[in-house]
Amino acid sequence: MKNPVSFISGAIRKRLKINKRTPLPIKLRHRYLYILPTRHGLVFFAILLAILIGAINHNNNLGFILTFLLGGISFVSIFHTFRNLSGLTLLSARAIPVFVGQTASFAICVENSGPPRASLCFNFRNREQTIFDLAAGEKQTITVPHATAERGLLRPDILSVSTTYPLGLFRCWSLLYLDAQCLVYPRPVSGPTITAHGLTKDDNEGKSGGPGVDDFAGLKNYQPGDPLQHLSWKSFSRGQGLQRKVFEGQAGETIYFDLDALPGQDLEWKLSRICHMILQAEAHRMAYGLRTGNHLIEPALGGRHKRSCLRRLALIGQGEG
């Protein structure tokens, strides 16, 4: 039991069976919010009790006044702390894919329809906190870090939304199982590049060659997702609209990465290796295709292609594909 607050909140969560994912947007209302004294609050109340006992013993009315004034301030601060969080709306949460071991950053869009809020603290369990203020009516996107342990679709841990503002004597918090996800690619592991050419002739027959990077083959109209490096700025400046240069790789140089072609039994290791090869190929601007089992991604190049390949790697064996 490291932290009594997290222990108690965990117990409450278990009791209320809050394990269902909360769909966004969500407005934090009474039923999502808990409030308890912090450790400083407990020290404060111990001191308040000591003052009260002293005041009773000495029949000191000024002591009573001080005790009740401080008691009143801390009591009032409960509502200020509560109001600082109550009514906050979490609109959306999304995250850019990361590799295993990297920190996933969930971008959470929050909206404040109420009064100004200060020192709001967002954090996933046992991760660093993101602290920010919100003006009245402000909408803001904040990033909250989350650890990644394995590839696949990361469903975030419990998000703790908390505040101790203004006095730090009470902590108001809400625990949310956000219905969000982050794609986690395998961890790249370096090694020799192993390509598979053993594709049937039929696959290449009748084509002048797969799309590659070597030979300029003409211009095509730009479509969203095409690699930006290949944009033809010259034709754009001539007023011909956005066009894209098309290259052709030589027949023999189209490389395929094949999961089954890699030696070894450990699937995760093989995925990590291929992940690394994809990044290498992309860095060297060499078109590549990916074959996993009987699923094939045609050779290509560019961000979109890389992402779809990595996505494929991330989701193998996870029932989503």
Partner: protein
Amino acid sequence: MVPDRRTIPILAVVAICTLPHFLNVAPWVVVACLLLWSYTLAAVRRNWTLPGRLSRGTLAGILSVLTMTTHEGFTIEAFVALLALMISLKLLENTSTRDRMITVILCYFLLVGGLFFDDSIIATAYMMFAVLCTTAVMIHINQGKRGLLAPLKLSVRLMIQAVPIMLIMFLLFPRIQGGLWGRTPVNSGRTGFSNEISFGAIARLAENHEVAFRIEFNGEAPAREQLYWRGIVLSEFDGSTWRRGNDRVKTVPSLQETRQQITYTLTLEPHNEHWLITLDLPMRVSFRRAWLLGDHTLYSWRRISQRISYVGESSLDAKTFGQEREWKKGLQLPEEGNPRTRELAASWTRETEDPEEIMQMALTYFQEQAFVYTLNPGTLDIGTKGETTGAKDLIDRFLFDSRKGFCEHYACSFAFLMRAAGIPARIVAGYQGGTVNRYGGYLVVRQSDAHAWCEVWLPAQGWVRVDPTAAVAPERLQSNATNALPAGEMISAWSFFRAGPLADWLEPMASAWDLLNSRWNRWVMGYSVAEQLDLFSRLGFHLNGQKNLAKRLGIFLAAALPLLLLAGFLISRRKKEAEDKVASYWMDFCQKLADIGLARPPEQGPRDYMRDILKHRPDLELSIREIVSLYISLRYGRQAKDEDVRHLRILVKNFTPQKRRVR
């Protein structure tokens, strides 16, 4: 470890909370605190590396030992000094939010120490100010931004919201008579005379203008010459000092022939001694923890360390004969010393045997010889002829050589003369006179009104009050000591304000201020069990008997809990009201349309609703368009302006659609 700029507000708060204690703690503590603060400030400014854990711990140890040895035992002063030092030391270890929070929370604790020394209005106001600053710094610690203005504003708001809670708790929280257990004594010097008097003891008080007590008379106040406030009776003399003595007669002699009885309420400021002050001669007093002694003084078994208030009944003209033991004690004198005084008394007894005549001769002696009433009698240790005659013949030297003295010189010499002449005599120390507050109508007696006089036992009249000072300086009874003294002797700020050219301006202000203090002491600081029972009976709870603490606790809880919940409800509700005003006007608008048969389907938004209505009632287009567009901009726009909300209210109020007439 390098200090943080955020330490500076905390340092300021520590200083604010420690300052009032500087009067009560040992001087070296003040110096140590100031040094620690300057060091912290310099370290923050210059980015010095702070001392490590070991040196801090060593310093803390040294300071604790020093505190315990320089203060007498574990008194409140020692506690306050230790706390102030440790908090100042803690400033050097201000790296995390946790450190900062603990430092600030301890500041609240430090504030409490001050309550034991002073509970005046000013002290209370200062405490409020200190709480305000401390709370602001606490907010500052918990916010990300730097500025101190916003925390101060919020702190004021928190305090304003907390005040009603404080008042209710203060009035209803059950008070316990006498406290829980013994009290730590407060050693800070309470002024007043002690239980012995020697030359110079009362003159020392002459420039002390602290209030000793306040009196409200039920009915007419007696004449000023009769306002002798009885404190203690001293009947043992050792040649230089008059003492109370340990042999006390507990049987109270009955008063005879009382005609003029006076009832009054006296509020006594704490003087840390055992006696109560009463108007001469007391008959009974409504203070349970004190008893009347044979010498007509009131003795409390606890030291008066808090302000107390009691109703007294006194007789101005009663006769008391006392017990034989009492007046026999009034004849005791040292074996030798003051031979010239003894010779003077013997010369009188040779002339007559009537004690009353001898008494008159003594008073005449004081009047006819060149005695001077003065605060500065000069030293009496060396006689006029240059020979040192030892400390025992002080009365001789006063009566025959210097002849300059304050009231205690006259009282002590007179009592000695009487005893030497075989007439029982004793000294009474107390106060004489007082100043009437022009607004409150009560009487204020200050330490500077302290006085000593004599009582002489005459066979026919019993103990008779004789004031030899009055024979020398009759003005003393007409006004206060300051005015009876020779001109120029009391050149203090006080006498300047009292008698100087500003007096006419300042006197009303001083009176009003004293009235305020008196009311504060009586109603706020004096609120206790009796007042609480009175309040409860006014609220309809009649609690009698001894065992009402549980009932009072019950009432307190039953009343406080709903009130607290109500307070919380009000605080958390406030912002929502503003938010929902727009909605409520919109509802009014929809209701008005529903009344003419154009109700809004629940799923319809404002735009669709408007479109549907306009199909039926194009004649209402102008007003409906204005309301709907304003509503949309208020509800979905970026910022709702107050004036727009008001405008919407007016538009909706003036919107009165008529039903279309059936043609």
